[in-house]
């Protein structure tokens, strides 16, 4: 475990609706070292968002444990060690862009390590990093969805969390915006050195961003494969056209198709 603090997921299972209910996650074991970028990929309803919320201390698993930098995930959440970027930007429409980025500082006060006379400068620098210089005084309703999601990213980074949890943050965006945001995300993460757990349903996006890609099967969510991504960082968009990229993507997609076949076969009498 490095100084930035890794994540240890030990035998995590999650059941919704009591013992007769749905098993969302079944025996997840995963170790993520500090500063690592791990993507979780799976089809809709495989429990990947649930796993992210368990790691972030927002949900208690039915069984198993998660330790973040040696603390339980609940304790780590109370110590504000997570940044979270949601599927929707979840900005407050009554606050301007800068106000939204400064929200954590206002909520945390002295608990924010970046708190102080220069917390505004830090927020402005983050907005510059995500390409939103000059939009500080706009309201969220006046900027595009992609820009809103970048504000959400800047907000999540504004208090220097050790761990960044991202729940399909770019899923609702068009391909070009997504490419640009992926590059900016890699750049920003390279700068902050935070551990990232990134949930997506796009295999391409996962391989492009992550050091390791974790494949989840649907209902119950089990890890079917953990793949090392063989491309060094920093990365460029061009790596997506290398044969190794396509081969890995094809291999991972094969896992999903295989699962579907099994499910189909099971549904046939």
């Amino acid at each position: 475990m490095t100084s930035s603090g890794g994540i240890a997921i030990e035998g995590v299972s999650m059941q919704f609706g009591g013992s007769q209910g749905v098993t969302a996650l079944d025996g997840i074991d995963l170790n993520i070292s500090g500063g690592e970028f791990v993507a979780i990929v799976g089809p809709s309803g495989c429990g990947k968002s649930t796993l992210l919320r368990i790691v972030g201390g927002l949900l208690e698993p039915t069984s198993g444990h998660v330790y973040v930098g040696g603390k339980t995930s609940g304790q780590a959440r109370r110590d504000v060690e997570f940044g979270f970027v949601f599927q929707q930007p979840t900005l407050f429409p009554w606050l301007r862009v800068l106000g939204n980025v400064l929200l954590p500082d206002r909520v945390l006060g002295r608990r924010n390590p970046n708190n102080g006379p220069n917390s505004k400068d830090i927020a402005q620098e983050l907005l510059r990093d995500v390409g939103l210089e000059g939009f500080e005084d706009h309201y969220p309703g006046q900027i595009s969805g992609g820009m809103q999601q970048r504000v959400a990213l800047a907000r999540a980074l504004s208090y220097g969390p050790n761990t960044l949890l991202m729940d399909e943050p770019f899923g609702a965006l068009d391909e070009f915006t997504r490419d640009r945001l992926n590059l900016q995300l890699l750049e920003v993460c390279n700068k902050t050195g935070s551990t990232v757990l990134f949930v997506t349903h796009s295999i391409q996006e996962a391989i492009f961003l992550a050091d390791r890609v974790v494949m989840l099967s649907p209902r119950p969510g089990r890890i079917t494969r953990v793949a090392e991504v063989p491309f060094p960082k920093p990365r460029t968009l061009e790596i997506r056209y290398e044969p190794g990229f396509a081969a890995l993507a094809g291999e991972l997609r094969g896992l999903l198709v295989g699962d579907d076949d099994i499910e189909l076969a099971m549904n046939q009498p």
């Binding site: 927002l58 959440r77 940044g83 929707q88 979840t90 407050f92 945390l108 309201y139 309703g141």
Partner: protein, 264 residues
């Protein structure tokens, strides 16, 4: 440059108001013509010019002696009813159990005809300000309660999770998220309540008062003084419009972000 923009904004407002003013004026003209041509008895249908004369002669004393009281009752009732409704809404949002117990009572309060309650309150409190304020408050309570409760609930689960990730207190969630997200709904409710409060005050005055527009109207009706009745109606509805627009102006001050106002 800014003066050009300013002037065009004034023109914008005029153009927006103009159609309704023109229609209103046309209705008055048609009414005037109809009364004159058909020669209907003035004690049944006074012409707008007669009502105008009445307003010119009696308007000032009506406003000072009576409208002032009616609006005092309406505004006090509005403040009381809205405050109690906001407080109740906050309690409901934080204690689902209390909402289950007491929301049916709020509906009962709303469905009780105020015309029937007003005489009762007059018996209890006499010809004082109190029964009028209470009736106005009663009529304001429900729309504000329903809107406030809806507004306080209008936050997304992700917003709650965001505050949880920030380890924010319930208090912080309440002030920084619930209250601002409820404001558009609260103001929608307050605007409805502002017009209702004037009605409540006048209805309460019908059942026992020695001054106020409601008192003037009911007294005039005994004497078939329709000109005075219309003058009272015109004055009170004008006051209601002013009250509504004051709340609307406060709303514009409070809700400055784009698409904040619900009825635009």
């Amino acid at each position: 440059m800014s003066s050009i923009r300013k002037r065009s904004r004034v023109v914008d407002v005029l153009l927006r108001v103009l159609p309704s003013v023109v229609i209103f004026a046309l209705c008055l003209v048609a009414w005037e013509l109809w009364v004159n041509i058909r020669d209907v008895p003035a004690y049944l249908y006074p012409s707008p010019s007669d009502i105008g004369k009445e307003l010119r002669d009696e308007g000032l004393s009506l406003a000072v002696d009576d409208l002032r009281w009616t609006m005092t009752e309406a505004v006090l009732g509005f403040l009381l009813g809205s405050a109690v409704a906001l407080f109740t809404g906050i309690v409901f949002v934080h204690a689902k159990f209390l909402e289950r117990v007491f929301f049916p009572w709020a509906i009962v309060l709303q469905t009780v005809p105020i015309v029937a309650v007003a005489p009762l309150l007059t018996i209890w409190f006499g010809f004082t300000l109190t029964p009028k304020v209470l009736i106005a408050a009663l009529i304001c309570f429900f729309p504000v309660l329903v809107n406030a409760t809806k507004g306080l609930r209008s936050i997304s689960s992700q917003a709650v999770e965001l505050m949880s990730i920030l380890s924010a207190s319930k208090w912080s969630l309440f002030w920084r998220v619930r209250i601002p997200s409820s404001l558009p709904y609260v103001f929608a409710g307050l605007k409805v309540a502002s017009t209702l409060s004037v009605i409540g005050a006048i209805v309460a005055e019908f059942t026992g008062a020695d001054r106020g527009i409601g008192f003037v109207i009911i007294q005039a009706s005994y004497r078939l003084d329709t000109r005075l009745m219309f003058a009272g109606i015109a004055l009170s509805s004008a006051a209601g419009v002013v009250f509504f627009n004051i709340i609307g102006a406060l709303e514009r001050l409070a809700l400055r972000w784009p698409d904040a106002r619900l009825d635009r």
